[in-house]
């Protein structure tokens, strides 16, 4: 109990310190609007990657439809705050987005989560595309041309807090009864089943939590960038999130943070390279995969428990 409190306080200090560091850097002008944009993009990508990592890395379900749920959140927020641009409605819209994303995840997950591996990937990809095509053809969403001038409520502090909240939810879920059940499903479905674990229920739980966090990221994206179009949420976006997860390490939340940050910085640094940028990006991606096949962090996590007790062999729990 005491020890847990110590680690929790460490994480809290880290989060608060990060916030004030960012604040200070903006005040003294080290972080300009270009860099702020980079940091916020990284933050949104962290939310997306952490949620997808829960589904792929911890529950072991290969989903390729993350962008579809992101779209749900993005459009819920855009539509609601374009009508009523108040902070209250903005926060309400996040909740509405999350609820719709959960419903969508249930509709998609209940039939498809009985599929395995690549078949699940391709089915969830299809489902996400269906969501996107529906949005593409709706009046309320303004069809293919998307929505503009969305009021900006998602400033960097809001995004920062959302990164912390979603990560805490996901990490704490992983290190609880449900998360352990999901891990068992990843490791061996038949053994989990025989140990009394409702395999389908925990797969679905992880999938739904992942979808809910994706919706939050979508809300942030829509209200920070202020314009969205259905094409922002296509297969390529799902793949971009997958790349962060695999690059960081499947099953490492720390890895998702690191990879999202590195890719965000690389992307910003390559802005001036024009058309060559994506070629370099592609090469870097291939090389990292060849030389570090398990991703930057493997399945390792940053852990205060381990920092304080270097002898402990446990790969660490964030809590």
């Amino acid at each position: 109990m005491k020890a847990n409190l110590k680690y929790n306080i460490c994480w809290l200090i880290l989060m608060v310190a990060g916030f004030y560091l960012m604040n200070a850097l903006i005040l003294v002008g080290v972080i300009d609007s270009f860099l702020e944009n980079m940091v916020v993009t990284i933050g949104i990508n962290i939310i997306l990657a952490v949620g997808l990592n829960l589904v792929i890395g911890f529950a072991g379900q290969f989903s390729l439809g993350h962008a579809g749920f992101m779209a749900v959140g993005a459009y819920a927020t855009s539509i609601m705050i374009s009508k009523t641009p108040t902070a209250g409605v903005f926060y309400l819209s996040i909740i509405v987005g999350v609820i719709i994303a959960i419903i969508a995840a249930l509709i998609v997950g209940i039939p498809t989560l009985r599929l395995r591996g690549d078949y699940l990937a391709i089915a969830t990809m299809g489902a996400a595309e269906i969501i996107r095509i529906i949005i593409n053809n709706m009046k309320m969403t303004n069809g293919p041309s998307g929505m503009f001038n969305i009021p900006q409520f998602a400033t960097w502090p809001v995004v920062y807090i959302m990164v912390c909240v979603t990560t805490i939810i996901v990490v704490n879920f992983i290190h609880s009864r449900g998360g352990r059940a999901a891990l068992a499903v990843r490791e061996d479905e038949i053994a989990a089943d025989s140990m009394g674990i409702n395999v389908f229920k925990w797969k679905l739980a992880a999938f739904v939590i992942g979808a809910a966090t994706a919706a939050v990221a979508g809300s942030m994206q829509a209200s920070y960038v202020q314009t969205i179009a259905p094409n922002n949420f296509n297969i390529m976006e799902s793949i971009a999130i997958l790349i962060i997860v695999v690059l960081g390490g499947v099953g490492s939340i720390t890895g998702s943070f690191v990879a999202a940050t590195i890719l965000g910085i690389v992307d910003a640094a390559l802005q001036s390279f024009g058309a060559l940028r994506m070629v370099i990006y592609a090469l870097v991606l291939i090389l990292i995969m060849i030389f570090k096949p398990s991703g930057i962090m493997g399945a390792k996590e940053l852990s205060f428990k381990r920092l304080f007790n270097p002898k402990s062999r446990k790969a660490g729990a964030k809590s």
Partner: protein
Amino acid sequence: MTTLLNVEDLIKNFGGLTAVSDVNMHLNDDELVALIGPNGAGKTTLFNLLTGVIVPSSGSITFRGSDGLIPLNGMKAYKIANLGMARTFQNIRLFKELTVLDNVLIAMTANYRENFVQSVFRLPKFYKTEARIRQEAIELLKIFDMQDDLDQLAKNLPYGTQRRLEIVRGLATKPKILFLDEPAAGMNPEETADLTRLIQQVQHDFHITVLLIEHDMSLVMNLASRIYVLDHGSLLAEGTPKEIQNNDAVIKAYLGEEA
């Protein structure tokens, strides 16, 4: 002495192959029964049928629950497990990339509750529950002398220890019946003797029923109060160790193969 599990006319076909054919058997409260038979006799298949991993082609399996008889045919494996049936696997199926402690905690999933809000916001109740079940898990591991391996990954354990962890994991589900599929396979004589003692102790202390598949005859004869002999999917004989040792059909089936 009452019947806990009753199996009638159980049949399983795989395509043209009848792996289990017309098996009738029963397990009583608080007894240790062995299931023997040559390789390919259908013992593991029978376990799979009883624990719901595969569905019988025909026949019935009935379990005596706290409020009446429950037919298990076609029931999902996890529901059967939650009624009080646990098993180990002939080809060890631990959660390899997880720690010893997590392996055991996972098996306890159905026996405690944590609600989402408690765990996600780390309310005091969460830490209390975690501490309690962790203690329970450690107590179980102590019986099998594994309390020092809590943070080891299951895949890094020596082979014999992995088999023992499978038993602990089974016990952690709080079963009424424990199915052990060749728990001593690949162990040296010393380990086997150790395990024999443990199985006996656990069966006695926890008042559970154990159905044991084993090839080591001395282990079987020492432990079991009754023995079922399976051959080519059918029951060849049933009886006490003494009766089985003197059963002509069994002797023929076992010796006949070598002669």
